[in-house]
């Protein structure tokens, strides 16, 4: 139903130099010359997102400032027969912002206004380039915060979060981005402008808003977002529980869930990560011999938390915890979180490159699946560590490697695939928060059959019948088998500079 990436483009595109120049000139007139990037050096930074393998140079990068400019840019692209894609901060980890098919990048980096912050209705309307953490900072004065908190929240944008349906450590209690979006203003791939959803939370008809969140920029360019804000909790308690190994930590997570407790966060950090963190600038004062640590955050009415802590102490003792620390002040709380949030940075000590994998399994199967994942890492002779959202069953096996070694790169890709196969066989899925993008597009067949994927194509075609908006993402192409080969995907031609 939807053309494969770029097929419509290749039919429509005019190849003459003058028409190419005319298109770029049209874009410059819309956004201004400084906001239209065309030199190779300028375009280089937009060739990929946080998945730095397999970059693709865009044809042009435009940085509009308003909805009207986005509408005009999209129409200009359509008139020139060019595909295009939106881009937030480029912190995504699945290649969702890779400009395939010579696409134009529409960066939202200059659309950074908080248009409205309404404490009475507990909502805010923002442009897509607003940084996630900045919104919570702005809302704090009103006793509110924006709940989705991806690890990259100091840099990632609300628009990017909408595209990826981003999660974060506090997803367990507060849900992912989709649970907090009330309405979107969307520039359709044909240049039309629509409002999806409603600030009332009660829009009638099909839930197109819900279908667009997490669509990885394939249904249009989001230009305004109305989000729900949450009240700051009255009290927060952060605990650090030390175990001899990851399986025991996972067992405590299972006991907590089964016991009816709903912590705000349940994050596990394994031994290899503890070692890396403690040897880095993120040092959190963790026991060097810890096999795993569980960072556990409780929030809610102050009167309820002491009893919850006591219940957790009892459950932790039953599951073999060797130590429990309760943060006594904000500084200690921040130190506990450094063990989690500094983990990816600390991994830089292990190898030049880090592949941050993402999969989800039923929570009850975490201990056995983690053992299998570690066995895969050992079998492929890879440095594999685990930092993950245990409360959601959302795993992040991290593989430290050196892309300059093509043989090691092959092993990284093969191990990554095996990890997904193990997770899917256990009733899990390919991604919990990073998205499909290009990274997992060709693995979609592990989880979905042709009819399932065809239904997704029908949805996409409703918004973008000609497949011009962020082509080549999510839906596997008929060439999937060939492209799943890492060399065919271009991993071997990535410069290391």
């Amino acid at each position: 139903m939807v053309n494969e990436a770029g097929s419509w483009i290749s039919q429509r595109r005019t190849s003459s130099r003058s028409s190419e120049d005319g298109w770029i000139e049209a874009l410059r007139r819309i956004v201004g010359p400084d906001a239209c990037l065309t030199s190779k050096a300028e375009l280089y930074a937009y060739g990929c997102d946080g998945l730095t393998l397999d970059p693709h140079q865009p044809s042009v990068v435009v940085l509009p400032q308003s909805t009207e400019e986005v509408v005009q840019v999209v129409r200009a692209c359509r008139a020139a027969g060019r595909s295009f894609l939106p881009r937030g901060a480029g912190t995504g980890l699945s290649g969702g912002a890779h400009p395939l098919a010579d696409a134009a990048v529409i960066s939202c980096a200059r659309m950074t206004k908080i248009l409205n912050l309404d404490p009475r209705d507990r909502l805010a309307t923002v442009q897509p380039g607003v940084v996630n953490a900045d919104l919570s900072v702005a809302a704090r004065a009103e006793g509110l915060f924006y709940a989705p908190d991806p690890s990259s929240q100091q840099a990632c944008t609300i628009g990017g979060n909408v595209a990826e349906n981003s999660g974060g450590p506090h997803t367990l209690k507060y849900g992912t981005t989709t649970n907090h979006i009330l309405a979107l203003e969307l520039v359709l791939p044909d240049g039309g402008l629509v409002q999806l959803g409603s600030a009332t939370g009660g829009a009638t008809g099909y839930d197109l808003l819900g279908a667009c969140v997490g669509s990885e920029g394939t249904t249009g360019i989001v230009t305004e977002i109305t989000v729900r804000l949450e009240p700051l909790p009255e009290a927060v308690e952060t605990l650090l529980v030390v175990f001899g190994g990851v399986p025991d930590a996972c067992r405590l997570v299972g006991r907590i869930i089964r016991g009816g407790l709903v912590p705000a966060a349940l994050e596990v950090v394994d031994r290899r990560t503890v070692e890396a963190v403690e040897a880095s600038v993120y040092r959190a004062g963790l026991p060097q011999d810890a096999g795993a640590v569980l960072i556990l955050e409780l929030d809610g009415p102050a009167c309820a938390l002491p009893a919850q802590i006591e219940r957790i102490r009892a459950l932790a003792a039953e599951t073999g915890a060797s130590e429990i620390r309760v943060a006594t002040d904000e500084a200690e709380r921040a130190r506990f979180w450094r063990a989690r949030k500094g983990a990816f940075g600390a991994m830089g000590r292990l190898a030049p490159d880090l592949y941050v994998h993402d999969a989800v399994v039923p929570r009850g199967r975490l201990p056995e699946i983690l053992e299998e994942i570690c066995a895969i890492g050992d079998r492929y002779n890879l440095k594999l560590s685990n930092v993950f959202h245990a409360g959601d069953g959302n795993l992040h096996p991290n593989i430290s490697f050196d892309r300059r070694d093509p043989e090691e790169l092959e092993r990284v890709v093969a191990a990554g695939r095996e990890i997904l196969e193990v997770c899917v066989a256990a009733g899990g899925v390919l991604t919990g928060e990073h998205g499909v993008g290009t990274e997992k597009r060709d693995y979609m067949g592990m989880l979905f059959g042709p009819d399932d994927l065809d239904a997704m194509k029908r949805l996409r075609a409703t918004f973008d019948p000609q497949g011009v908006c962020n082509p080549g993402k999510i839906i596997p192409s008929t060439r999937a088998c060939i492209e799943s080969n890492p060399k065919a995907r271009g991993y071997d031609r990535v410069p290391f500079t």
Partner: protein, 430 residues
């Protein structure tokens, strides 16, 4: 079987569903039509075969659960066949450690809730009225007084098995509680009134039963939405409603007499969670509003009230922002309506009752619609007409249209190209 359904089609449908067609009670009707036969497939394969036959014949079909919420939506376009999910019922898998469950669409909500409660889990689906099936609750996506605590229906759906109009059996989502693998297709099917596909099975996320739950009621007046909103925003509020006292004898008599006489509205609130926090909120509402303990079945009574229908009357549901709800309530009451208000998210259900001399007078109905339109315009509210007198059904789109109807029509055509699934019932008469 009546003669209008051809013997050939009947035979093919019975072969496809591996069972005889059931007669539909001719005295009941369904969404404005009389059904001549109902297929009862027992599994996804049979459901797929039945739909293929109907699609080939371009034969419209009504999708039936327990028929307890057939009042929602527009009347069906002429339709002779129904498909019941009655035999697609039962629990396939219940992971009691993880709080997730896979059930058939025809599973009765009350029995399912009883089963999960025995294991310490709440089924967070709170449909108005009583009875109903899982498939019906998901297809209508209606919320009751516990919407404050449970969130919208869609938040409880982890995965769906659906059969599309042309027989494709498609799956979306999974059993895990966090998932961004591909498009979030479940969002499309939930709340679509069965017009995009027939929900066959679902993975649902359950909620841990709270340590403590207490229900209170208080008589209030004046800025009642603001009062209700303050209560709704307490940390442990799970259910809340503010009700026009005059509705209670008709729709929720179990609530009994008001705590105080002479006040127009009654607030009912349920706090649930950790015992110290529930006690704290209970003490607060008693001190601030003079609230008293409410009957144990107060929440069920509110659900009954939500579907109250007067012999000649109109029921309309409005969604507003909290800041605009008070204005909406005042406009409605000035226009003769009586309201049930859920303060956050702000949903007002308004009843207009015709007087004896207004009977079947179109002028009365026009007056009601004028009030509805005034509220919509003044409060930027969405309005859904839930009940109309029989003689007035179909005069107006029950959903009031949508600014993105073109996209919705396109979506419908891609999923149901021959328009056989519940034709005419949804927004824009899709």
């Amino acid at each position: 079987m009546k003669q209008m359904l051809s013997a050939d089609l009947k035979s093919r449908l019975e072969d496809a569903s591996d069972s005889p067609l059931r007669l539909h009670d001719p005295s009941r009707g369904y969404a404005g039509v009389s059904l001549e036969g109902v297929a009862e497939p027992a599994d996804a394969g049979a459901l797929s075969r039945v739909l293929k036959v109907l699609d080939e014949q371009r034969s419209p079909v009504a999708i039936l659960g327990s028929e307890s919420r057939s009042w929602l939506g527009n009347p069906l376009k002429p339709t002779r066949m129904g498909i019941s999910t009655a035999r697609l019922s039962g629990i396939d898998e219940f992971d009691e450690a993880d709080g997730v469950i896979r059930v058939g669409a025809g599973t009765a909500l009350d029995k399912l809730a009883e089963r999960t409660a025995r294991s310490g889990w709440w089924l967070p689906i709170d449909s108005p009225g009583r009875g109903g099936t899982v498939g019906g609750a998901l297809a209508t996506a209606l919320c009751g007084p516990r919407r404050r605590g449970f969130g919208p229906v869609r938040d409880s759906v982890l995965g769906l098995d659906t059969v599309l109009a042309q027989g494709a059996h498609v799956r979306c989502g999974a059993r895990v509680v966090k998932n961004v693998t591909g498009y979030d297709m479940a969002k499309l099917y939930v709340g679509s009134l069965g017009t995009l596909g027939v929900i066959e099975r679902a993975w649902l996320r359950l909620r841990a039963a709270p340590e403590s739950a207490l229900i209170f009621q208080a008589s209030i007046e004046g800025a009642v939405h603001a009062e209700g909103l303050a209560v709704a925003r307490r940390a442990t509020t799970r259910a809340i409603a503010v009700v026009d006292e005059s509705l209670i004898p008709f729709g929720a008599p179990h609530l009994g007499r008001p705590p105080r006489l002479g006040k127009r509205h009654r607030l009912i609130v349920e706090f649930a969670g950790d015992a110290p926090a529930v006690d704290q909120d209970g003490n607060w509402v008693a001190d601030e509003l003079g609230a008293e303990p409410a009957p144990a079945d107060a929440i069920e009574s509110l659900r009954d009230l939500q579907i109250l229908e007067f012999p000649i009357g109109v029921r309309v549901r409005f969604h507003t922002r909290p800041s605009q709800a008070e204005q909406a309530r005042m406009l409605l009451e000035r226009g003769g309506a009586r309201c049930l208000i859920c303060p956050e998210p702000s949903v007002l259900t308004a009843w207009f009752e015709a007087g004896l001399d207004e009977g079947e007078d179109p002028w009365w109905l026009d007056q009601v619609f004028a009030v509805v339109d005034e509220v919509r315009a003044a409060s930027s509210a969405e309005a859904i007409i839930e009940a109309l007198p029989d003689w007035a059904r179909g005069r107006r789109d029950a959903f009031g249209g949508s600014p993105v109807l073109g996209l919705m029509r396109d979506l419908k055509e891609r999923f149901d190209p021959n328009g056989i699934l519940n034709p005419g019932r949804f927004v824009g008469r899709l």
